[in-house]
């Protein structure tokens, strides 16, 4: 296989640390955590090249990676905007007005759910219950939960993200003490 991409040194260290969590002949168990790291490293989505690379690291067949990547909703198999806005729309959030939040974002960004803005900054997605039901309605962006949303708050959150221009992803390998522990109950 002629793979060109490569993890950063830091990511690779975490990958190896994760592989060590399983018996030596059960390397494949590291697949899901490693895919999270890969997604964060390579632009927020998993290309065929990225998945082949992960397969080579874990010494499994590429198909074993594809079938897993396509099963789990957190893995993006297509490019997404820099900020993926994920609004929960299941019962408790719906009861508290999640539909309004979705409509508001659609209007503000001039996109429909599932779409990405022309400048590639935002993708809007509706998702199922994220375990914030008592703090509804809620929105997830990268590794942050924004809860008790109002429309004003939603607008502020989006404007802030817009001004930083940074990609919001989950830095899956930042574990333990070296990472900043942020309590993301952004009220």
């Amino acid at each position: 296989m002629n793979v060109k991409i490569q993890f950063s040194e830091k990511a690779l260290a975490s990958v190896n640390e994760i592989i060590a969590r399983y018996p030596a002949d059960k390397k494949k168990s590291a697949l899901i955590p490693v895919l999270h790291i890969a997604q964060a490293e390579f632009d927020g989505w998993l290309s065929a090249e990225t998945m082949d690379y992960v397969a080579s690291i874990l010494e499994i067949k590429p198909i074993e990676v594809y079938e897993v990547a396509s099963f789990y909703s957190m893995f993006n198999l297509k490019p997404v905007g820099k900020c993926l806005l994920e609004v929960c729309r299941t019962s408790s959030c719906w009861l508290m007005g999640a539909e309004d939040v979705v409509r508001f974002i659609e209007n503000k960004l001039n996109i429909k759910e599932g779409e990405t803005t022309a400048d590639g900054k935002f993708t809007l997605k509706t998702v199922e219950c994220l375990g914030a039901c008592g703090y509804a309605p809620m929105l997830q962006v990268g590794d942050k939960f924004y809860e008790f949303l109002t429309l004003e708050k939603t607008e502020k959150i989006i404007d802030n993200l817009d001004s930083t221009g940074k990609r919001s992803t989950y830095n899956g390998w930042q574990t333990g003490k070296e990472s900043e522990i942020i309590m993301n109950r952004v009220d």
Binding site: I32, E64, D100, G131, E152, D187
Partner: protein, 447 residues
């Protein structure tokens, strides 16, 4: 004040750190378990406590542990189910976020009792910042000698790792969870064999919910008999309830099992009543999978007895007039709520989450979502309501895992108790626009 066993110290500042947790008596259960008790004695205490699985099914934990196969020379595992994806449920997140060492302490004591030298906490992928809190707490536990080799000089070794999921409700089902932990798609396994015999990598495994494992700590500290004295009948101990929806005080509450539902909803100590002075319409008492009950039946049983927060009382009357305690995801709906639309959000959820292995589940959930969508968009007919009933009745008992039933029960219950509302939807669709489906976001009181 009712007795608290898990969240007793939740308001102590810094209880999420090792130092403060330890100062409040943390890790005493590990000391007691490893130094003063044998594995069998711990199992006996858990049996005596009457503790039942807090993940949803309510299976007696002591009995589950006693099924664990112990062949010589084969590793066995404890796996903690922190996948928590049942709509309406957010208690495990609360516990891990606020007092992570309680879970770790429970994992150590339970692993010792089961003879496991490796244990995993499988946590849902979306709980990003909880991952960091847990990883950090695990590091602290290693650094202070509670994990690793020769713990407390007793010769007992334990490694504990966190494993993250990636967004799949089905991975909360224990065999799907094990598949996922092995790096595969989350397809539930056909049982038997049960995980107790062939679990993770085919080896004997116990899978328990976060709250179940945390409850082992007070059981060891105070003794199984004392634990069993709390609660009512076969519903012993305390339970974390995640309360959401149209109430004044949503959040996680630790209750003594047996608390009257009415007190839970209306007392200021708990939900604080229905918000905006509205009337209660219905409750889903145990997470999205359990049957919805209208006001009359959630507050009182069909026999007119006060309904209690317990496995037995919530189950009283079977599915005709009762429901289940489930995971404790307590979703409250006020008088303006459309039951049909709420049901649509559930059916869409189950269709999205079906793993697709069994036709009745894969096809049935898809059809139920489609028909409900047709009804709420004003294009339904009376025969659609009957068709919906027919489809749900053909799923139960015909699938590999209980997700099929979890998708069918809410549909059955909504039609059973609110058939008139479905009929109104299909006969007077022009009125639908006037139904207030939900609170407008801008009307929310500032929180």
């Amino acid at each position: 004040m009712s007795k608290k066993l898990l969240l007793q110290h939740i308001d102590v500042p810094g209880i999420n750190t090792y130092e403060v947790y330890r100062k409040q008596g943390g890790y005493k259960a590990v000391e007691k378990a490893l130094k003063e008790m044998t594995a069998d004695q711990i199992l006996e205490e858990v049996k005596t406590s009457g503790l039942r699985g807090r993940g949803g099914a309510g299976f007696p934990t002591g009995m589950k542990w006693s099924f664990l196969a112990k062949p010589e020379g084969v590793a066995r595992y404890l796996v903690c189910n922190a996948d928590e994806s049942e709509p309406g449920t957010f208690k495990d997140r609360y516990l891990m976020e606020k007092i992570p060492h309680l879970l770790i302490e429970g994992m150590i004591a339970s692993s010792f009792a089961l003879g496991a030298n490796t244990a995993y906490i499988y946590i849902r992928g979306e709980y990003f910042y909880v991952h960091r809190i847990l990883e950090n707490a695990i590091k602290e536990a290693y650094a202070n000698g509670w994990l690793g080799k020769n713990i407390l000089g007793t010769g007992y070794d334990l490694d504990l790792y966190m494993q993250i999921g990636a967004g799949a409700y089905i991975c909360g089902e224990e065999t799907a969870l094990l598949e996922s932990l092995e790096g595969k798609r989350g397809n539930p396994r056909i049982k038997p064999p049960f995980p107790a015999v062939a679990g993770l990598w085919g080896r004997p495994t116990v899978v328990n919910n976060v709250e179940t494992i945390a409850a082992v700590v007070p059981i060891i500290n105070e003794g199984g008999a004392n634990y069993a004295n709390i609660g009512v009948g076969k519903s012993t101990g305390t339970k974390l309830i995640s309360a959401s929806g149209h109430i004044n005080k949503p959040g996680v509450y630790e209750i003594e099992l047996g608390l009257p539902v009415e007190e839970f909803i209306y007392s200021d100590q708990y939900c604080g009543g229905i918000r905006n002075g509205k009337e209660l319409k219905a409750v889903v008492a145990g997470g999205s999978s359990v049957p919805i009950l209208p006001k009359e039946l959630i507050l009182k049983t069909a026999a007119g007895e006060p309904r209690l927060m317990s496995y037995e009382s919530l189950g009283d009357g079977g599915f005709q007039t009762g429901t289940m305690l489930g995971s404790g995801g307590f979703i409250v709906m006020d008088e303006d709520t459309s039951i049909v639309k709420n049901l649509y959000t559930f059916s869409r959820f189950y269709h999205h989450e079906s793993c697709g292995q069994c036709s009745p589940c894969r096809e049935g959930t898809g059809w139920m979502e489609k028909i409900l969508k047709k009804i709420i968009s004003g294009n339904g007919t009376l025969s659609d309501v009957d068709l919906l009933w027919d489809i749900q009745s053909k799923i139960e008992g015909k699938t590999i895992c209980p997700l099929g039933e979890a998708a069918a029960w809410p549909v059955a219950a909504a039609i059973r108790h609110f058939r008139k509302e479905f009929e109104e939807y299909v006969t007077n669709p022009q009125n639908i626009v006037d139904v207030k489906h939900y609170y407008r976001v801008n009307n929310l009181a500032a929180v």
